[in-house]
């Protein structure tokens, strides 16, 4: 099946408008959560307020307030026991020319002892781990059986534009009962992932994500390791009565994104790994959370950073933790030298805005059990070497002539709000006496929950023209190397960091706040902290109409996206 887009003419110079038209959920009558949550704390419209620190007073005038959108939960009216129990992710090896059938469906998943209706690719959480060789092309036939329209975006893959999975831009949404066939060409080695690009604040949060691991033909591409493990980091917002509903017409949590209260690794709350003493484990990390940035660490184990989104770093480095923002991937080698149990932690300095304080917050993500048995020592010793990657440096050298020239485009990240309750506005104004570079926790759960995509517009503004988001109209040619400067304006109403994702191309982060990046790696997603100015260099190698957006799901659906065209033929 060839992809089609109805009413192409509607897209005109602003193809992203077609994407915007798909944002509101279109669901059958009765899918909203009203009446489904008959318990004491249910507020009007089926809403229940997310958990918040009981020591923090509720904002005056907001008691009983709910977001100005309808509440949505999946599978309303469906007998949970009739749903298939979700299964852990399986590995699917795809050779060149192979075809994989993927069904998007409702599944039954148990989280902390309670069953929920959630979504799955082929009934799995995460979706199947697809493994392929660099340079191959395989086919994925996707059938949608959930109540929402969906697509599959192949995040980070320099894929043929027709199969990028952006509704209204590269394809029509896949309606309930419909199918779409993707041809996935994988020109780069690395850990990629796939997820919906229709209301991913809902669908991705409910389990629609999976990894695509593309191997290099070079057996010495990475250094030695005893084994490889995939860790998909996520969180989900729940209280003791279950999942907090999502917004139907527009996302809730538009200011800061929807932070979860329960941490998940590979969809599990009790991720465990058993290793031998001295074993070197290569972890492929992917953050699929809506908004949470993790600071992952393995206390007592030594760790080095090896690669990121689209390949290896110029050189390996020892690191004490891995800060990983939504949609980013990192590859780390970790050696476990001490027998016993060690926990995998998310260690952050959270902010208590009411008290005006930082405080340490530690979440246990999983457990590693290290046996007394010694792992094969040659590999363990090889871990001591930090590799210089001459192949990466040679590739990047071809772009160095562009490093010092002025930017071709400058973007400013900011936001506008309207019709927010006055007490929220007043609190935010005081709060901006200090805004941290990164938001690690939902420090204002009620205000955040009440802000929706109908009241908040997150903005990428072209400094030269003043155009914003969908009105930005950039055109490039295949072979162009484009320098884009992104400034995250700290004087906005509520500034926040943004993980900026560029579809279909690869880029280097050249410098931050005037400081050159000493260790480059090809990226498709990178963070712009509050107040910072980040220069990226994009290699426009892949023709088509592409998106660039913030990968905090609620920011994306509050408008923070633009599209650009790359003309010409693929090399």
């Amino acid at each position: 099946m060839r992809p089609t887009v109805t009413d192409r003419a509607r897209r005109g110079r602003f193809p992203i408008i077609g994407f915007l038209a798909t944002l509101a959920l279109t669901v059958p009558a009765g899918a909203a959560a009203q009446g489904d949550m008959a318990h004491g704390d249910t507020l009007s419209g089926g809403w229940r307020m997310p958990p918040m620190n009981p020591a923090m007073p509720v904002l005056p005038g907001l008691g009983g307030a709910v977001p100005p959108v309808a509440a949505f939960l999946p599978g309303v009216g469906v007998d949970l026991s009739s749903l298939p129990e979700a299964q852990p992710s399986s590995v699917v090896e795809m050779a060149d020319g192979d075809t994989l059938d993927v069904t998007i469906s409702l599944v039954r998943r148990e989280i902390l002892g309670r069953d929920y209706a959630m979504y799955g690719y082929n009934g799995q959480y995460p979706g199947p781990l697809i493994r392929a060789d660099r340079g191959s092309t395989f086919v994925v036939r996707v059938t949608n059986e959930i109540e929402l329209p969906s697509t599959v975006h192949w995040h980070g893959v320099r894929i043929d534009n027709r199969f990028d999975g952006v509704p209204g831009v590269t394809q029509d949404p896949i309606g309930t009962g419909e199918s779409f066939t993707y041809e996935v060409r994988v020109p780069d080695a690395g850990m990629f992932w796939y997820h919906p690009h229709t209301r991913e604040d809902v669908q991705q949060d409910l389990g629609l994500y999976g990894n695509l691991l593309v191997s290099s033909p070079d057996p010495g591409y990475f250094g030695p390791a005893h084994r490889e493990e995939v860790m998909v980091l996520d969180d989900i917002l729940m209280d003791d009565q279950g999942m907090i509903p999502w917004g139907l017409e527009a996302p809730t949590h538009a200011l800061m994104g929807r932070f979860g209260t329960v941490m998940l690794v590979n969809g599990l709350t009790d991720y465990r790994l058993e290793v031998r003493r001295g074993e070197v484990v290569r972890f492929y990390l992917t953050n699929v959370a809506n908004t949470r940035t993790f600071n992952l660490r393995f206390p007592g184990a030594r760790m080095k950073i090896v690669a990121s989104d689209m390949g290896k770093f110029e050189r390996e480095e020892w690191v004490g933790s891995v800060p990983i923002a939504p949609a980013e991937r990192y590859v780390v080698d970790v050696r476990f030298d001490r027998a016993g149990e060690t926990t995998i932690l998310n260690s952050i300095q959270a902010v208590d805005h009411f008290r005006g304080e930082f405080y340490p917050q530690v979440d246990t993500l999983g457990t590693v059990s290290v046996s007394e048995e010694l792992a094969e020592t040659m590999v363990s010793r090889g871990f001591e070497t930090l590799r210089e990657n001459a192949d990466v440096q040679a590739d990047i050298n071809g772009f160095r002539k562009h490093f010092d020239r002025p930017p071709d485009h400058e973007l400013e990240a900011t936001l506008r709000v309207r019709n927010l309750p006055l007490s929220i506005v007043r609190t935010m104004e005081i709060d901006t006496l200090y805004v941290p570079p990164m938001e690690w926790n939902d420090a204002m759960p009620m205000m955040n929950w009440l802000s929706t995509g109908t009241q908040v517009t997150w903005i990428l503004r072209d400094r030269a023209t003043g155009d914003e988001n969908g009105d930005i109209d950039w055109t490039f040619d295949v072979g162009d190397v484009v320098k884009i400067r992104i400034f995250n304006n700290p004087d906005a109403f509520h500034p926040m960091h943004h993980p900026i994702h560029v579809h279909g191309q690869r880029y280097l982060v050249l410098e931050r706040d005037g400081v050159p990046n000493p260790n480059l790696v090809w990226k498709d997603t990178a963070v712009v902290p509050v107040g910072s100015t980040v220069d990226i260099l994009v290699e426009m190698s892949n023709p088509g109409e592409w998106m660039m957006h913030c990968h905090i799901a609620e920011h994306l659906h509050a408008g923070m996206m633009l599209s650009f065209e790359v003309r010409g033929e693929a090399n």
Binding site: L23, F358, R416, P437, D467, N469, G470, F487, V530
Partner: protein, 183 residues
């Protein structure tokens, strides 16, 4: 007019009541053309006027992240790791002794010796406190083993994060009893 209609559709799709006028280029923030330490996180170094030759002195602390492969730098515990560039103008050389730079938490429970100020009155300091003070003192001599200053404070400054304080008793929480929260 294409742009205008696109904006209208954009607003309509997002459920806005009408198109929100975009800020044009001339009205947009002027900070975008500059690269360097974020002005937002810079903080002044203020003279105590207690030391001869320092009454007219002014200084600045500018923050960038310490080198990191992740784009921003964190300690394993999640503290920001900053490189603070300190510069001081109009500070006379000391008649005797040496200017010494210290970094401390606001509660002074942790004090770190950063080093002696050089003749340029400039220094880069790495800090992993989320809130911190920079203190420049006049010491008889530089003692790399010193745990705390003994001379007079010449200049001091506070990180922008130090401005974050309790909302109890302020704004919408002005009716809250500060004492109930320990303030």
């Amino acid at each position: 007019m294409v742009a205008a209609s696109a904006a209208a559709l954009f607003a309509a799709v997002l459920g806005l009541e009408g198109p929100v006028p975009p800020v044009r280029a001339a009205e947009a923030s002027v900070a975008c053309g500059v690269t360097g330490p974020p002005e937002y996180y810079s903080f002044p170094l203020v003279s105590t006027k207690r030391v001869p030759g320092s009454g007219q002195a002014t200084g600045l602390g500018e923050l960038t992240f310490a080198p990191s492969p992740f784009g921003f730098a964190l300690s394993p515990e999640g503290n920001y790791r900053y490189r603070v560039s300190l510069t001081v103008d109009r500070l006379a050389p000391p008649a005797t002794g040496v200017y010494v730079v210290w970094v401390t938490t606001p509660s002074l429970d942790r004090i770190e010796l950063a080093g002696a100020f050089d003749d340029r009155h400039a220094m880069d300091v790495e800090v992993d406190f989320n809130k911190f003070l920079v203190v420049i003192t006049l010491e008889d001599a530089y003692d790399p083993e010193a745990a705390v200053w003994s001379g007079p404070i010449v200049l001091r400054g506070m990180s922008r994060s130090g401005m974050m304080h309790t909302m109890a008793g302020h704004g919408p929480f002005e009716q809250e009893n500060c004492a109930a929260y320990g303030y």
